[in-house]
Symmetry: C2
Subunit: 338 residues, 2 copies
């Protein structure tokens, strides 16, 4: 298996990306890791960090430009088609790699995956699927790729999310919930009311109904379906509130000598607690619906998060999710045409 | 001043509602409190709780029916027009009271306020405005009344929210943010892109741009404008995550004897910390845009929360927000017709 990693994108690129690649290679020595990026910068860093670029199975494909967070999404197929991200996608499309990981500009990665690697035949829109690390892992789909969607697309998100949670987390008949402003079938926008009826009729998935905001943290479903606008709000607000509460907990321990002493006792527990809600423990976010595995690592990924994203990408390839997705979509189309 | 309180609605009705009325009356002896509800039940409870119904300034208007959380919103003007909520709204409309408080069915209260009390002339839609108790108090408008809205309505929400935060919290030129999936002007749905441009041009408000989910907890604005679907998601998810994190913090302290001891030290701090995020400290949620003050108390309000909601309702009446709202809307219409 060959995995291409865009080591120039992300808040901590290239250092943490490169370290993550070497760490992943230690765990998976039989997987080839191809780094796209500026070879002079990569070589300099590896020398400095004492990482051996002659390690069998690790290689560099030299690229000059880098897509920044400010670049428009379509730059990946236009002026920056030869960037570390653009080149990686081209290699994936050409069969020179089996999967790709990037911590870069999400819009560009989504646009590039769609235009260069292309969607699975029959899939209307690909979506970003993210694990929310709450009571139990819950897959949020779409976490931000498509601001506006149709009911058919939302149904496909539900099917793709179900297959992913079944294959990667071993959940039998994953419970699918629809993010809405109330539990009753009549809640939400006109589109969501239609989607509720549509999902209820679909035998392919285990639809359990609407999920309200207050239910989300308690993982009352395994797959939470929504448009990318709502998904972005849920994901970012959860991240923001986790950061906010952690900061507040810290403040509470700083109040006086007694609380500071209590804080010392609690330090290992708090650390463990923090780790529980660390999304990067689960790896990155797959772009479901793309014909080959593309995984978006969090922008702020450190080496451990990058390693986890690579591990997850290897699982993504090994479990044959994309083949299963293609089969289910084709089957659904056939049954609808009967 | 006369305030009508629907004491039959809410999770803890009538006990906590009645207790809240008596507590508020102690703080504001010159405000008349009129309770709508079943007088036999109220009398029974007051006897049991040793509350004197002969207290000057406290009275009952007898009603038979109660609107439940399951009743359709329009029941308040149809089969349950004479319920504790419906009767209160009629009294407000007829000038028999100056303001109303209810902890009942939000949809019914919103529909009833619109149809019985009516909106301020020129206001397209009234909205529920809720304080999110985060870094500093931030007003979320619309917190759930209108699932789908127009750009003109969102602008009115921004104006109403600004006046409310100025008059009730003394904030000079409140910062208005638009809830969106990114900070750039080009982010969000087509509607939100139009709203961004529209709010930018409006001199009446201090628009500071888009606010992403991760910024929300840090109160980067004073008024957060959104449609009621998004507002419901933000409010409910924040409530759910606060509950979730508090539960996790409790678990962390239960791990072993040392952490339990630390927990004892931290108890007063944790209690204070919890209080900081208690929305009911700020009272209830005003229905902005209605021609008379209507305040929705949280469904789970206890006596203290009810008392706070009544205090806030008194401020709402005293600060003349509605008059100012009407003046600004009329002024805006005139300047647009010039």
């Amino acid at each position: 298996m060959k995995i291409v990693i865009d080591v120039m994108s992300g808040d901590n690129a290239p250092e943490e990306l490169i370290k993550g690649v070497f760490a992943a290679h230690e765990d998976y020595p039989h997987v080839d890791m191809i780094m796209t990026g500026n070879k002079y910068i990569i070589e300099d860093y590896c020398r400095e960090a004492d990482l051996d670029l002659k390690t069998p199975g690790i290689s560099i494909v030299h690229t000059e430009s880098v897509i920044t967070m400010e670049d428009p999404a379509l730059s990946v197929v236009r002026d920056k088609a030869d960037s570390s991200m653009g080149k990686g996608l081209k290699m994936l499309s050409a069969g020179e790699a089996d999967a790709m990981v990037s911590a870069g500009n999400t819009g560009a990665l989504h646009a590039g995956s769609t235009l260069v690697v292309r969607r699975i035949k029959g899939i209307g829109r690909s979506a970003i699927a993210t694990i929310l690390p709450l009571e139990t892992p819950m897959l949020l789909i779409d976490a931000g790729a498509n601001t506006e969607v149709t009911k058919e697309q939302l149904l496909q998100f539900a099917i793709m999310g179900s297959i992913y949670m079944n294959k990667l987390f071993g959940i039998d008949r994953p419970r699918v919930g629809l993010a809405n402003n109330g539990t009753e079938a009549t809640k939400g926008t006109k589109l969501l009311q239609e989607v509720y009826a549509y999902l209820s009729e679909c035998e392919d998935i285990n639809f359990i109904g609407n999920i309200e905001g207050k239910q989300i943290p308690f993982s009352e479903c395994d797959v939470l379906v929504c448009d990318g606008f709502t998904g972005n709000m849920i994901l970012k607000l959860t991240e923001g509130l986790a950061k906010f509460f952690m900061g507040k907990v810290k403040q509470v321990f700083m109040r006086n000598p007694a609380t500071k002493a209590a804080g010392l006792v609690m330090k290992p527990q708090i650390k463990e607690f923090k780790k529980e809600f660390d999304a990067s423990e689960y790896g990155g976010a797959p772009l479901l619906g793309i014909s080959k595995p593309v995984v978006k690592a969090h922008g702020s990924s450190d080496a451990v998060a990058v390693k986890n994203a690579i591990r997850q990408t290897i699982d993504f390839v090994n479990t044959g999710i994309i083949k299963e997705l293609a089969r289910r979509v084709t089957k659904k189309e056939e049954s609808e045409n009967e």
